[in-house]
C-alpha cells in the first residue's frame, strides 16, 4: 500500500496507459481509438516526467549561476518526453488523415463496418 | 580426366534436357534423332564412368568442412547405374512410339532426359548431402512427367506425388542432420560413419531417427503406409510409369535406404535392435499388402503398380536383414524386378496404345491377336511369380535363404510373407494372361477386336529384348551373384 503512496505517479500513469491501451485495442470508433492512443502516450510522458523529477530541486536552467548538478533535476527524461510528444503528434496527424480518407470513402468511422464494406468490395 | 568422366553422365543429360526445353523440333524424326543421340551418348558416358574411370572420391565443391558436393562410384553405384543406363535406352526407344498418342513430346523428352542425369546423380553421389540433393531433384524433375497430361486427374496425381515426396524428404532430412552431427563425416562408408563415443547415451534417439529416416526414404520406395502416391501416379504416360515408377524413382528410394542402413548408420549398430524388427515387419506387411491390392485391382497398370509396391519391399526386406547375404538377395531382386516390371508395364502400355483398353476384363481373347505382347507378359509374369528357372525364383530363393541364415524369428515371418505373396503374384499375373488366352464364352460387342494387334517395332523390339534378357539372366545368374556378393560385402 505504502508503495502506492511513494510512487503514485507511476501507478497513475500505468493505469492511464491501461485505459489508453484498452481504448486503442477495443474501441470500434476510429477517432476514439486514436484518442486512446494519445492517452496511452500521455501516460508514458507523465511517467517519464515523474521519473525525471527529484523532490526539492529545480529545472536545469542556469539562472543564478549555480553549476552544481545536484541542484537540478535530471534533464534527460524531459528530453525524452519532448521527443515522444513530437512522435505521437506526427502519428496522430497521420492516423487522422487516414481516418479522414476512410470516412470519405466508406462514410463510416466504425472499424468493423469499414472492414465489412471493404470485404464486400473485394468480394465483387 | 577421370573426375570429369565421373561427373559427365550426371551433368550432360541435365544440361542437354534443359537445352531441349525451349527447342521446337520440326518433325518427329529430328527429335528422335537428337534425343536418342543424347541418351545413347550418355549411356556410353555412364558405362565408361562406371567401368573404366576409377576416379575414387570426386569432390566438386566444399560447402563447409563437413558438407560437400561429392561423387563416388562404388559397387552399389555400379549396379544401380548399369541397370538404369541400360534400361533407359530401351525405354526411350519405346517412348518414341508410345508418346505419339500423348502429345507434347518436346517437353516430355526434355524432362525425361534431365531425369536420366538426376537418377545417375543419385547413383553416383558419394555422400549423404549429394544424395539428398539429387533425391529432391528427382522429385522435381519427374513431377512434370507425372503431370504430363495436365488434366485435372494428372494434376491431382501430381499434387499427391509431390506431397508424399516432400514428406519423405522432410523425414530423410532429419536423418541427414543426425548423420551430420553424430557421424565423423557424411561420406558413404561401408559399415557406417557414426562415432561410437558421440552416440553413447543417445542410442535410443538415434534409433528413432533411423526409423524416421528409413520411412522418409521409404516413401519413394512406397512402403506402407506411404504407398498411395504410386498407384495414383500411374496416370502418367506408360514409359514414365515403367521406367520411373518401376525402376528409377522407386529404386532410388530403395537405393537410398540401402545407403542409409549399410553406409551411414552401419549394420553392426542396428543389427538385432528393435528398429530392425520394425522395418522387417513393415517390409513383410507391405509385401503381402501390395500383392493383395494388386489382385483386387482390375485396372492393369494400377495392378502392376501395386505389384511394384510389393516387390520393392522384397528388396527392402533383403536389405533389412542387414547381412551381406540379405543385401545380395535384395540387389538381385532389384535387378530382376527392374527388368520384369518394366517389361510388364510395356505390355500394358502396348495394349493401351493399340486398343485404349485399360481393364483386364477388356482384354479377353487378345492373346492370339497380340502374340508378342502377351507372350512377353506370360514369360515375365511367370518370372515375377517365381516359377523356376525364371529370374524371380532365384531372388526369392536367395532372399529366403538369407532370411533363414539370419536366424531371426521376425525374418521367418518375412519368409511366410514371401510365400503368400508368391501365390498372390501368380494369381494376379496369370489371371490377365488367362483372360487373354482363354476368353470366357460370352457375347462380345461389335468391333471388340478392332485393330487389336501387336504395335510396330519401336515397341515390340524393346519388349522382345527385355524378355530375352530377363530369361537369360534368370538362367545364368551365377556371375551376377558373384558380383553382387562383392558389392554386398563392401569389397567392391
Amino acid at each position: 500500500m505504502n508503495h502506492l503512496e511513494t510512487n503514485f505517479y507511476e501507478a497513475v500513469s500505468v493505469i492511464l496507459f491501461g485505459i489508453g491501451f484498452m481504448n486503442l485495442l477495443l474501441q470500434n470508433n476510429l477517432i476514439k481509438k486514436f484518442i486512446g492512443l494519445n492517452i496511452m502516450d500521455t501516460a508514458i510522458y507523465l511517467f517519464l516526467a515523474a521519473q525525471g523529477y527529484i523532490f526539492g530541486r529545480v529545472a536545469p536552467i542556469l539562472t543564478d549561476g549555480v553549476i552544481d548538478a545536484s541542484y537540478y533535476i535530471n534533464p534527460v527524461p524531459a528530453g525524452l518526453v519532448l521527443t515522444g510528444i513530437v512522435v505521437s503528434v506526427s502519428i496522430t496527424a497521420f492516423s487522422l488523415a487516414l481516418v479522414q480518407r476512410l470516412y470519405k470513402h466508406y462514410g463510416s468511422l466504425n472499424m468493423d463496418e469499414i472492414m465489412r464494406l471493404s470485404r464486400e468490395e473485394e468480394g465483387e | 580426366m577421370n573426375e570429369f568422366a565421373t561427373i559427365l553422365p550426371v551433368i550432360f543429360p541435365i544440361i542437354a534436357g534443359a537445352a531441349l526445353l525451349p527447342v521446337k523440333f520440326r518433325n518427329r524424326k529430328q527429335r528422335e534423332f537428337w534425343v536418342l543421340t543424347i541418351t545413347i551418348l550418355n549411356t556410353i558416358f555412364a558405362l565408361y564412368a562406371v567401368y573404366f574411370a576409377d576416379a575414387g572420391v570426386v569432390t566438386i565443391f566444399h560447402f563447409s568442412e563437413k558438407l560437400s558436393l561429392t561423387f563416388h562410384i562404388d559397387g552399389l553405384s555400379k549396379v544401380f547405374a548399369t541397370m538404369v543406363s541400360v534400361l533407359w535406352v530401351i525405354t526411350t526407344v519405346y517412348a518414341f512410339e508410345y508418346m505419339t498418342h500423348e502429345g507434347r513430346e518436346d517437353q516430355f523428352f526434355a524432362f525425361f532426359t534431365m531425369t536420366y542425369g538426376v537418377v545417375l546423380g543419385v547413383a553416383f553421389s558419394g555422400n549423404f548431402l549429394t544424395m539428398y540433393l539429387f533425391y529432391e531433384f528427382l522429385t522435381l524433375a519427374t513431377l512434370p512427367l507425372v503431370m504430363h497430361a495436365m488434366d485435372n486427374k494428372a494434376r491431382h496425381a501430381g499434387k499427391t506425388y509431390i506431397l508424399y515426396m516432400m514428406f519423405g524428404a522432410a523425414l530423410a532430412f532429419i536423418g541427414f542432420i543426425f548423420i551430420y552431427c553424430y557421424g565423423d563425416s557424411i561420406e558413404f562408408i561401408y559399415g557406417g560413419v557414426l562415432i561410437p563415443e558421440l552416440i553413447k547415451g543417445h542410442e535410443r534417439t538415434l534409433q528413432v531417427v533411423f526409423l524416421v529416416a528409413f520411412f522418409g526414404f521409404g516413401v519413394k520406395a512406397a512402403i506402407l503406409p506411404f504407398y498411395r502416391w504410386l498407384p495414383k501416379a500411374s496416370v502418367a504416360p506408360t514409359p514414365v510409369t515403367a521406367l520411373l515408377h518401376a525402376v528409377a524413382v522407386v529404386k532410388a528410394g530403395v537405393f537410398a535406404i540401402i545407403r542409409l542402413i549399410y553406409f551411414s548408420f552401419g549394420t553392426e549398430y542396428l543389427m538385432g535392435t528393435w528398429v530392425q524388427n520394425v522395418i522387417l515387419i513393415a517390409a513383410a506387411i507391405t509385401i503381402v499388402f501390395g500383392s493383395t491390392l494388386a489382385l483386387r485391382t482390375p485396372h492393369i497398370k494400377r495392378r502392376f503398380a501395386y505389384s511394384t509396391i510389393s516387390n520393392l519391399s522384397y528388396i527392402i526386406f533383403g536389405a533389412a536383414l542387414m547381412t551381406p547375404a540379405g543385401l545380395t538377395a535384395g540387389l538381385l531382386h532389384m535387378i530382376y524386378h527392374a527388368l520384369i516390371k518394366i517389361t510388364l508395364f510395356f505390355t500394358a502400355g502396348a495394349i493401351l496404345y493399340k486398343t485404349h483398353r485399360e481393364y483386364l476384363y477388356e482384354v479377353e481373347g487378345f492373346g492370339r491377336l497380340m502374340p508378342i505382347t502377351f507372350i512377353s507378359m506370360a514369360l515375365t509374369g511367370a518370372s515375377l511369380a517365381g516359377v523356376p528357372p525364371f529370374a524371380g525364383f532365384h531372388s526369392k530363393w536367395a532372399l529366403a535363404t538369407a532370411a533363414v541364415q539370419s536366424s531371426n524369428q521376425v525374418a521367418y515371418l518375412g519368409i511366410v510373407a514371401l510365400i503368400i505373396s508368391a501365390v498372390l503374384t501368380a494369381l494376379y499375373i496369370f489371371y490377365i494372361v488367362v483372360r487373354a488366352y482363354f476368353p470366357r464364352k460370352r457375347e462380345y460387342a461389335a468391333g471388340y477386336y478392332d485393330h487389336v494387334s501387336d504395335p510396330n517395332c519401336y515397341m515390340t523390339v524393346p519388349l522382345i529384348m527385355l524378355t530375352v534378357i530377363t530369361i537369360l539372366i534368370g538362367l545364368f545368374p551365377s556371375e551376377l551373384l558373384v558380383v553382387l556378393e562383392k558389392v554386398a560385402t563392401g569389397i567392391m
Binding site: - | H394, V416, V423, V434, F438, L481
Partner: protein, 488 residues
C-alpha cells in the same frame, strides 16, 4: 551337362511333340502323332528305367542345379504314369470329338506328361519344385478347357491352391537348403545333424508345412477344396488323369521330402507325424462322406479321389515298410481304378449326356462293357477281392497294425473300414441301378449305346490290369520291396 543325356529325352520329347501337335490341323494325323509320341515315350521310360543313371543338366548356381536320376520310386511312378497316359490318350481321341479346340487339348495333354516325367526323375529339390510348378501350369489349360465361366473360376482356384501348396513346399526348401548337407535326394535323408542339433522343433514345423503343402495336390485336408471344383469341370479324360495321376504328383513330392530329405527316422514318433496321420484319416472319412452325399457323378468321383489318395498318405506316414508298400500299391490301383471310373463317366456323358447319378438307371444294359469296367473299378476302390484295391487296403491295415501306433492304428483301421462301407454306398448304388433298373424301367426306350473301341479298349485293359494285379500282387510287391528296402 554331365551324365547320361538320354535321361533328358523322355522329358523333352513330349514337350516338343506337344508344341508340334499344335500345328497339326488334320485330326487323324494328329491322333496318330499323339499316339506315337506317347508310345515312344513309354518305350523310352522303360528303356531308361532299365538302364538307370543320373544327369545334371546345368548348374544354375553353386547350390542350385537341374538334375535327373532314376531310382525305384522314379521307375515305379514313371511307368504307371506312362501307361495310363497312353490309354487315356486313346480314349480322348474319341471323346474330344464333341469338345471344342481339340488341338489345344492334346497339345497341353502331351506337354503335361513331360512335366510329370521330369517330376518323377528329378534328383533334387530345385528340379522337383520346378517340375511341380510346371505340372500345375501345363495342366491348368486342361482344367479350364471348356472356358465356361465356372470352369475359369475353378481353374483360378486350382492355380491358387496348387501354387500356395507349392509355396509351402518352397518355404520348406528354403530351410532345408540351410539345414541339409545337400539338396540332392538321398535315401534316409540328408539332414546336416550338426546344424539340426537344437533346431528340431523348427524343422518339424517345416516338415509339417511341406507335407501339408504338397498334400494340397494330393487333395489332403485342409487344402483339398480345389479338387472337387476343378476335376469335374475338365473334359473327362482330363479329369481322369488329373485325379488319377496328377494327385500322385503330390504323393511323389511327399515321398521325396519324407524319405529322401528329412529321413523317416527324424520324423518317426514326432508330433508332426501324428498330426499328419490324423489329417489324412480325417480326409479319408470326410472325402467318402461328401462323395456319398454328392449327386453329380464326376463330382462324386472327385470326392472319392480326395478320400482314396489320403489312403496313400496314411500309408506313407506310418513310416513303416509295410505301410509304405500298401501306399505304393494303393497308388497303382487307385490310379487305374479312378481312371476307369472317370473315363466311363466320360463315355456316359459322351454317349448319353447325363451327368447326374440319378439318370443312370439301366445304363448297364445300354453300354454293358463300360459299366462292367465301372463295376470292377468300384469293387477295387471298395476293396473287394479279387480286385486290386483289396490287396492295397489289406497291406495298409497290416502296416497300421505293425507300426507302433496303438490307438491311432486301431482308429485308422476302423476308419478305413468305415470309408470302405461308404465307398460301397456311393459306388455300388450306381452299379446296381445301372444293371437292375427295376420294373418301372421301360426296356422299349432302351437302345445300345456302346461306344467304339477307342473308348472301350482302354477301359477294358485297365479293368483287366486291376484284376490281374489284384490276383497276382507279388509282381508289384517284389518291386516295391526293393524300393522300401533302400529306404528303411
Amino acid at each position: 551337362m554331365t551324365g547320361d543325356s538320354i535321361l533328358l529325352l523322355p522329358v523333352l520329347l513330349p514337350l516338343f511333340a506337344g508344341i508340334g501337335i499344335w500345328f497339326l490341323k488334320e485330326e487323324k494325323q494328329r491322333n496318330f502323332i499323339v499316339f506315337i509320341t506317347i508310345a515312344v515315350e513309354l518305350a523310352l521310360i522303360f528303356y531308361v528305367s532299365a538302364k538307370g543313371g543320373t544327369l545334371t543338366v546345368w548348374h544354375v548356381t553353386s547350390r542350385l542345379s537341374f538334375a535327373y536320376h532314376i531310382d525305384g520310386i522314379a521307375k515305379y511312378f514313371a511307368v504307371i504314369i506312362g501307361l495310363i497316359w497312353l490309354l487315356a490318350a486313346i480314349f480322348s481321341m474319341e471323346y474330344m470329338k464333341h469338345e471344342h479346340k481339340p488341338r489345344r487339348f492334346f497339345m497341353f495333354y502331351v506337354m503335361s506328361l513331360s512335366a510329370l516325367i521330369s517330376l518323377c526323375f528329378s534328383a533334387n529339390m530345385m528340379t522337383m519344385y520346378f517340375s511341380y510348378e510346371l505340372m500345375t501350369l501345363l495342366t491348368f489349360p486342361l482344367v479350364i478347357h471348356t472356358q465356361e465361366p465356372q470352369a475359369v473360376r475353378a481353374g483360378m482356384k486350382y492355380l491358387g491352391y496348387s501354387i500356395f501348396g507349392a509355396g509351402l513346399g518352397l518355404l520348406g526348401f528354403f530351410f532345408l537348403n540351410t539345414y541339409c548337407v545337400t539338396t540332392e535326394f538321398a535315401p534316409g535323408g540328408t539332414l546336416n545333424m550338426a546344424l539340426t542339433e537344437g533346431n528340431e522343433p523348427l524343422l518339424l514345423f517345416v516338415f509339417f508345412f511341406m507335407a501339408v503343402g504338397f498334400g494340397c495336390k494330393a487333395g489332403m485336408f485342409p487344402l483339398h477344396a480345389w479338387l472337387p471344383t476343378a476335376h469335374p469341370v475338365a473334359p473327362s479324360p482330363a479329369s481322369a488323369v488329373l485325379s488319377g495321376i496328377i494327385t500322385k504328383g503330390g504323393v511323389i513330392c511327399i515321398i521325396r521330402v519324407t524319405f529322401y530329405l528329412f529321413g523317416a527316422d527324424f520324423i518317426r514318433g514326432s508330433w508332426a507325424q501324428t498330426a499328419l496321420l490324423v489329417l489324412s484319416l480325417s480326409t479319408i472319412f470326410m472325402g467318402s462322406m461328401l462323395a456319398y452325399k454328392e449327386k453329380l457323378l464326376k463330382k462324386r468321383l472327385a470326392y472319392s479321389t480326395v478320400s482314396q489318395v489320403s489312403y496313400v498318405l496314411f500309408g506313407l506316414l506310418l513310416l513303416h515298410p509295410v505301410g509304405f508298400a500298401g501306399a505304393l500299391l494303393q497308388v497303382a490301383f487307385h490310379a487305374a481304378a479312378k481312371n476307369i471310373l472317370f473315363l466311363s463317366a466320360g463315355a456316359i456323358i459322351y454317349k448319353k449326356g447325363c451327368t447326374l447319378v440319378t439318370e443312370l438307371r439301366g445304363i448297364g444294359k445300354e453300354m454293358p462293357v463300360v459299366m462292367w469296367c465301372f463295376t470292377i473299378a468300384s469293387l477295387s476302390l471298395i476293396g473287394i477281392p479279387p480286385a486290386g484295391g483289396f490287396v492295397s487296403k489289406w497291406v495298409l491295415a497290416q502296416g497300421a497294425l505293425s507300426s507302433q501306433f496303438g490307438v491311432l492304428a486301431v482308429v485308422g483301421i476302423s476308419i478305413l473300414m468305415l470309408s470302405a462301407l461308404l465307398t460301397a454306398g456311393y459306388l455300388l448304388a450306381i452299379v446296381t441301378d445301372a444293371f437292375f433298373p427295376g420294373n418301372s424301367y421301360d426296356y422299349a426306350a432302351m437302345e445300345k449305346r456302346e461306344p467304339n473301341y477307342f473308348m472301350t479298349v482302354p477301359l477294358t485293359i485297365l479293368a483287366v490290369a486291376v484284376v490281374f494285379f489284384g490276383v497276382f500282387p507279388k509282381y508289384l510287391g517284389n518291386f516295391i520291396d526293393t524300393i522300401s528296402g533302400v529306404i528303411f
